[in-house]
Amino acid sequence: MSTLDKSDVEKIAFLARLGIDEQDIPEYATNLSNILDLVEQLNSADTDEVKPMAHPLDSVQRLRTDVVTEVNDRENLQANAPEVEAGLFLVPRVVE
């Protein structure tokens, strides 16, 4: 049984930088605990000799030649940014 409490949910939410409303935390704790209970079933499977499967066809990462393929398209790409100035993305001050 994996039961997550309020402080677990707060900790995970901070790791994910994900704001959740205080009033919703108990419900998330219940939901997440239920999902983890469902996942407990995996422990019934003997996987000691099984290799983890990352790609359904067991393909390996393809490499390409190291040449420039994309053109600089900054203005177009930054058109979606909430705040830009002089070609830079703006965020709140990080270094005092």
Binding site: L18, L32, M53, H55, P56
Partner: protein, 484 residues
């Protein structure tokens, strides 16, 4: 015109019976007058559609018509479309105008297809009922009280209601096949890596795959001819030759070996759905197929395996939504953490948050081996089950979903039961196999889908098997009364 399949529309366009502009206008008018009942589109693009239709008509006149020249299509709002809002069903991306096209969209454009608009979907494709969309739920054209399934619910509803001849979907755990089943249309999830994922907003990168949602298997074959192929821009795209998927549609069913997994006809399956599926299998026996019972012993591990792998990959993929480079940003952030936390908190809905939390937990220090690596191992057990089964049979058949479409609001308070509605589809994604759902009948006027599962890259075979059934039955021709 709206009653015709893609194959029939191509014949009509070739014969000059109507132009693409006329055809496109017909569908735009239907969307305009009927979609308020369904909410199947997030964005309709009439100017772009008519411009593309005009160009298609000119290309046809010049003898330069591509495969889908002049055919209107709807694109799931998960595909990046240049200059058009690409929201992925989320408030987070409501302000996002894609600066580029997904490879699938480029391929449709190159083939001369016309885009009618972008279809509604569960937020970031996370859901089985289309109720997690920030743009509101989609209604099922067969019963406006019912969900259309999800996550490609808008695409399924739009095709079923004849608001478009066909649409695209994406399928991470059943998101093409389950809504196809609920809406009574044909849906194909190809082999993992068959269709490029470039520009298709990622949910779970080792599971996501795009495919066609159509009225007939023949139309799905035509669509896949355009969509399939290796793409250097998708590192998991597979370099495997693309056959002409229409070439083998009429191959015989004589001697076809069908396996019915006993685990798919066990507890949890609605009796009336089971009877429809059994009747469909009987049709194949009449055509000369040989049916046997098989076992996929690790089936019960599929849902728990999926609910580690998919949320883990989603928590990583969705970390790019940070309020800095694109998407929603909160008002007056006081520092960088506040910017991230509030932008993401405001931009994402409850189901997306649940999955990010689960994934973050599963990947966090001390838990990675117990959850993610364990799930990757059980994933292989599930995949091995299929490999063993395909030593004995050519195709696996069963239900696409355990029930017909449920009512809107019926399962929203019960995420786990909602997850179990994908119980028969999830294993196929974990194993990377191609799967289809085709209309096989009705229970209380709600459609039932027959699921077909094939070996890797056996799309031609699945389309052939589906097409032969559609030559013998007329379930796929049925239209919902309000939209006939």
């Amino acid at each position: 015109m709206h009653k015709k399949t893609i194959a029939e529309l191509i014949t009509g366009l070739n014969a000059g019976e109507f132009s693409s502009v006329e055809l496109t206008q017909t569908y735009l008018d239907r969307i305009n007058s009927l979609d308020e009942k369904l909410n199947s589109f997030i964005t309709v693009t009439p100017e772009l559609a008519l411009e593309q239709a005009k160009q298609a008509d000119e290309q046809r006149a010049a003898g330069k018509a591509g495969i889908l020249n002049g055919i209107p299509l709807a694109q799931k709002d998960i595909f990046c479309t240049k200059g058009v809002k690409t929201s992925c069903g989320s408030k987070m991306l409501d302000p996002f105008i894609s600066p580029y096209n997904a490879t699938a969209i480029e391929k449709f454009n190159d083939s001369g297809a016309v885009m009618l608009g972008k279809t509604n979907m569960d937020e970031f494709a996370m859901g089985s009922s289309n109720e997690t969309s920030w743009y509101g739920p989609v209604k099922n054209p067969w019963s406006l009280d019912a969900v259309p399934g999800g996550s490609s619910g808008g695409s399924a509803a739009a095709v079923a209601a004849r608001l478009t001849p066909a649409a695209t979907g994406t399928d991470t755990g059943g998101s093409i096949r389950q809504p196809a089943s609920f809406c009574g249309i044909t849906g194909l999830k190809p082999t993992y890596g068959r269709v490029s994922r470039y520009g298709m907003i990622a949910f779970a990168s080792s599971l996501d795959q795009a495919g066609p949602m159509t009225r007939t298997a023949e139309d799905a074959a035509i669509m896949l001819n355009v969509m399939a192929g290796m793409d250097p821009r998708d590192s998991t795209s597979v370099d495997e030759a693309v056959p002409d998927y229409t070439a083998s549609l009429n191959d015989t069913m004589e001697g076809l070996k069908i396996g019915l997994p006993k685990e798919y006809f066990a507890e949890g399956l609605d009796d009336s759905v089971a009877r429809v599926v059994e009747a469909a299998v009987k049709e194949y026996e009449k055509m000369g197929a040989v049916v046997s019972e098989i076992s996929l012993p690790n089936s019960k591990l599929a849902v728990p395996t999926y609910y580690i792998i998919a949320p883990s990959e989603c928590s990583s993929n969705l970390s790019r939504m940070d309020g800095v480079r694109f998407g929603h940003r909160c008002e007056d952030p006081k520092d960088l953490n506040d910017l991230y936390i509030r932008s993401r908190g405001e931009g994402f809905g409850a189901e997306v948050k649940r999955r990010i939390l689960i994934g973050t937990y599963a990947l966090s220090e001390g838990f990675y081996d117990a959850y993610y690596v364990k799930a990757q191992k059980t994933r292989r057990l599930i995949s091995n089950d299929f490999n063993r089964a395909f030593e004995k049979v050519d195709v696996i058949m069963g239900p696409a979903a355990p029930s017909t479409a449920f009512d809107i609001g019926e399962l929203t308070d019960d995420p786990i039961t909602m997850y179990l509605s994908d119980i028969y589809t999830i294993a196929v994604n974990l194993a990377g196999l191609p799967g289809m759902s085709i209309p096989a009948g009705f229970v209380n006027n709600r459609p039932v889908g027959l699921q077909l599962i094939g070996k890797h890259f056996a799309e031609s075979k699945l389309l052939n098997i589906a097409h032969k059934y559609q030559q013998q039955t007329d379930w796929h021709t049925k239209a919902p009364e309000l939209f006939s």
